[in-house]
């Protein structure tokens, strides 16, 4: 009972903090609203990855591909098809989800390091397509000459194009829906089955659970939410470039999830916030920020393998 209460309380705290970001973040030294939006969007991606990594126990190292597909889907829709933010989000998500659903059957039979290796390698296809097909995607320079469009709701028109606060709240609404769906799924019998697969795949198989199909569905859900995040990311920057698809981006998502705590629902969001803040500070102070990010990876693995929330939880229980 008590743990239920603390869970409820921490949920309320998280949502309150998120809802008030535009008020408190600019007052933090070095903080500005775009940083908050970036942490929110990347945090959504890391949480989506964690649906697979932390709750299904499947090691995907190629989520940047679907993140990038979502981003390009949104950007190209607005640039070439219809200047509509909502449609961009929708099509971006659809593109990433369909690609994941098609690749899924090729990889669901693999496990562990092999799953990781194949997902990394598959991610590169989309990178090369974005890189080479430059008259449509803008190649290495990225997709430019488009901006997110004002949002037409039934009664009113929200200018997310020029107000970064309005955009933050749009991102937060999308975030809330996606996170709500994931939380609901994890609490459903389906989600419990995923956790059972994580804990003991062989036993789950003997119980008659179609493991491969469950992993496939979990993979598609995870990639769908990642492509939502990717679409939001493109809208946030009014720009997409092939680096959103590159394998180092996948690694960033994994380190965010691990840093925050893979076994906790909110962990990856916390990890993303720390990572984004750190990257912002490093890249403004040193040209060699890549070394520091690398060192950061090493230190996290050696000293924080359970992540921040995992450590806190462990300290509380002992």
């Amino acid at each position: 009972m008590r743990s239920d209460l603390t869970k409820q309380a921490s949920n309320i705290v998280v949502w309150l903090l998120l809802a008030t970001v535009p008020f408190w973040l600019p007052k933090v030294p070095g903080g500005y609203l775009e940083l908050g939006s970036r942490a929110l969007v990347l945090g959504l991606a890391a949480m989506a990855l964690n649906f697979l990594l932390g709750y299904t126990g499947v090691l995907s190292f190629g989520h940047a591909a679907y993140f990038g597909l979502g981003a390009y889907g949104a950007g190209m829709t607005i640039r070439y098809l219809v200047p509509s933010t909502g449609l961009g989000l929708l099509i971006g998500t659809l593109v990433g989800t369909v690609a994941a659903a098609l690749i899924g059957p090729l990889i669901v039979r693999l496990r562990g390091v092999y799953f990781a290796m194949v997902t990394i390698a598959f991610g590169q296809v989309f990178y090369f397509i974005a890189f080479r097909w430059s008259n449509v995607t803008g190649g290495d320079d990225g997709l430019t000459n488009w901006t997110r469009q004002p949002l037409d709701l039934l009664v009113t028109r929200v200018d997310i194009e020029h107000s970064s606060t309005a955009f933050y709240y749009l991102a937060l609404v999308v975030f809330a829906v996606a996170v709500g769906v994931m939380a609901w799924l994890l609490r459903s019998p389906f989600g419990r089955t995923l956790i059972a697969i994580r804990e003991n795949e062989r036993r789950a198989r003997f119980l008659g659970i179609p493991v491969d199909r469950h992993i496939w569905i979990s993979w598609v859900i995870s990639c769908a939410v990642v492509s939502v995040a990717g679409a939001l990311y493109a809208l946030l920057n009014n720009f997409v470039d092939p680096r959103a698809l590159y394998w180092s981006q996948s690694g960033d998502f994994v380190i965010m999830a691990v840093l925050g705590g893979m076994r906790s629902f909110w962990g990856p969001l916390l990890g993303a916030a720390i990572f984004v803040a750190l990257q912002d500070v490093l890249s403004s102070h040193t040209e060699n920020w890549m070394s520091f990010v690398g060192l950061f990876f090493v230190l996290v693995v050696l000293f924080f393998p359970r992540g921040v929330l995992g450590m806190i939880r462990r300290r509380v229980t002992t």
């Binding site: 390698a121 598959f122 990876f297």
Partner: protein, 288 residues
């Protein structure tokens, strides 16, 4: 036209030989220790840069001999200090650690030697074409193929006939039993890691003569090596060799007919192999 195709097939073979050399090292480490060494490309780059730094003192041939050893020693240190702590843990952690190392190696080489491409001196007599009709058959290219062939042959001889090689192969199948039989598994893993990194260093020394020396050379070669392992078959070294050569030739041939798909074609091959034969061309049953 025939000449163009021949040229690109040959080119593909050379590139494929690099992929294979690098992928063999990756495969060795992966098979015995279950570690995907993301820093393998970084070791390759370091091999190239060390050779570049050594040339003024020991000459081209000395660098060719020494640089891979220096790289292997660095690999042993990394294994001892960092990677060893992660054996037996979730493979996620070694993957993340070597991923971070890859960043550090790439940025480190950029910090020391600069981002621009450095000239790498190859003896002039190796660069001249052997015949005017087949202008692409320079001595250096044949030389590279020969060195790769010697290295691969040597590797298979070590694995087949030496005590170390037999233990590595046995450990790949069942490390626990090997340990119970009195083999020092810590040493075995270290030496195996060193051997893998040695191959990366050798690939680096050879590659810089062909592709030029720049910090990103490692990250551009690591993905094809992954594909080589997957196509060739997980757990099979001959498969890895075959996979490397196959994707090299495939991208070479694609350059002739559809240049913009040069990189993508190997991933298409990978998808096709996974669809028809998930364990890879020469992969063993039940290793997934």
């Amino acid at each position: 036209m025939t000449q163009l195709v021949l040229f690109n097939v040959f080119n593909g073979l050379i590139v494929g030989a690099f992929y294979a050399l690098m992928a063999l090292g990756l495969s060795l480490i992966l098979n015995l220790s279950g570690v995907i060494n993301f820093a393998h490309g970084g070791f390759l780059a370091i091999g190239g840069y060390v050779a570049y730094a050594l040339i003024p003192y020991v000459g081209f041939w000395g660098a060719l001999l020494l640089a891979p050893f220096v790289t292997a020693v660095l690999g042993l240190i990394v294994e001892r200090l960092l990677i060893r702590r992660l054996y037996g843990r979730d493979p996620l952690y070694s993957l993340l650690l070597t991923f971070g190392l890859a960043f550090m190696f790439e940025d480190g080489t950029r910090f020391i030697w600069g981002a621009q491409s450095l000239p790498y001196q190859v003896p002039a007599w190796l660069l001249s074409p052997l015949s005017s009709a087949y202008f692409f058959l320079t001595g250096y290219r044949l030389f590279m193929v020969a060195i790769v062939a010697i290295a691969v042959g040597g590797l298979f001889l070590i694995l087949t006939y030496t005590r170390l090689g037999v233990r590595i192969r046995a450990g790949t199948l069942d490390l626990e039993t090997v340990s119970v039989l009195g083999v020092n598994v810590r040493w075995l893993r270290s030496l195996n890691f060193g051997l893998g990194v040695y191959l990366a260093g050798l690939a680096g020394v050879l590659a810089v003569g062909q592709l030029g020396l720049q910090p990103t050379i490692g990250s551009s070669l690591i993905m094809p090596s992954f594909v080589a392992i997957i196509v060739g078959g997980l757990g099979s070294l001959p498969g890895t060799l075959l996979g490397g050569l196959l994707i090299g030739v495939a991208s070479g041939v694609t350059t002739v007919f559809f240049p913009s798909a040069t990189e993508a074609v190997m991933y298409v091959m990978m998808a096709a192999v996974l669809m028809v034969r998930p364990r890879g061309l020469l992969g063993e049953e039940g290793r997934l």
